[in-house]
């Protein structure tokens, strides 16, 4: 049962990732990316990391994709505007894709099979309670730094995308 679910989710993830790249219309790409993110959240839920699955849906499918869709609408991109790359670039891109995948998989296929060495001890390590304690005990400094980073990103985004009056 879990096995079938995993393979279905993986197929959805990989297929929608491919369609994200191959769609001509950027809006279709964004929609397929939402599907991809939802299936990755499904993977997290399958791994029993419920909190991470929720945060992933909220941050990626919610915030980031809305930002991207609004940017696409702001730019008013049409399909006819886009000139596709020359055929030689596409061939090289495909060859690079196959090479990266082939070398990484063949390198990692040499590792010892991990299925036997895994033991499920049943310790609670990924509930919200435990994660919150870890986040605010060991990682409290990076946590605060993340707040500073997000503030800087907000200020920077406003500054960069503001209209420059002098050069207009």
């Amino acid at each position: 049962m879990i096995e079938i679910l995993f393979y279905i989710l993986s197929a959805v993830t990989l297929g929608s990732a491919f369609l994200t790249i191959l769609s001509k219309n950027p809006i279709h790409s964004a929609i397929w990316l939402v599907v991809c993110f939802f299936s990755i959240a499904g993977h997290y839920a399958l791994l029993n990391s419920q909190f991470l699955a929720m945060v992933h849906i909220i941050v990626y499918s919610g915030a980031i994709m809305i930002l991207m869709l609004f940017t696409i609408m702001l730019m008013n991109l049409n399909v006819s505007d886009e000139v596709s790359k020359p055929v030689i670039t596409k061939i090289v891109a495909t060859v690079c894709f196959c090479l990266i995948g082939f070398f990484l998989i063949s390198a990692l296929a040499q590792t010892a099979p991990a299925l036997e060495t895994y033991t499920n001890t049943g310790v609670d390590f990924q509930s919200i309670q435990v994660l919150g304690k870890v986040l605010l005990n060991e990682f409290v400094l990076p946590f605060e730094m993340a707040a500073v980073l997000l503030l800087m990103a907000m200020i920077g985004a406003v500054l960069i995308s503001k209209k420059d009056k002098k050069t207009a």
Partner: protein, 106 residues
């Protein structure tokens, strides 16, 4: 209930992440639309996140998942800044085709 790693093993997750990462790299090389290239970067980040979560489950260690939270925060900041830069580029050039960004070429 049996854990998912007992049934399919960590290697399947490794292969899934590798293929997802390669798809992201493929998208960077294949498209010239800068927004779709951004989406490809997100796909690559998600491949890394997925592997971090899988290994965090494998070792039953919460640190991997905390790392994924920080990755998500950095990804959100990156997308906000990147899209702002794209909007600025679009205002100046009138297109987000990356092949048209060759003002620095002598």
């Amino acid at each position: 209930m049996e854990h998912v790693l007992q049934q399919i093993g960590i290697d399947q997750y490794i292969y899934l992440s590798i293929i997802l990462f390669s798809i992201g790299a493929f998208g960077i090389l294949y498209r010239r639309n800068a927004i779709v290239m951004f989406m490809s970067i997100e796909i690559m980040l998600n491949a890394a996140n997925l592997l971090l979560v899988a290994f965090s489950n494998y070792h039953e260690d919460a640190n991997g998942q905390v790392f994924v939270f920080f990755t998500m925060a950095v990804a959100a900041a990156e997308v906000a800044i990147g899209l702002a830069i794209l909007v600025a580029i679009y205002r100046n050039i009138g297109s987000i085709d990356i092949d048209k960004l060759k003002n620095l070429k002598g």
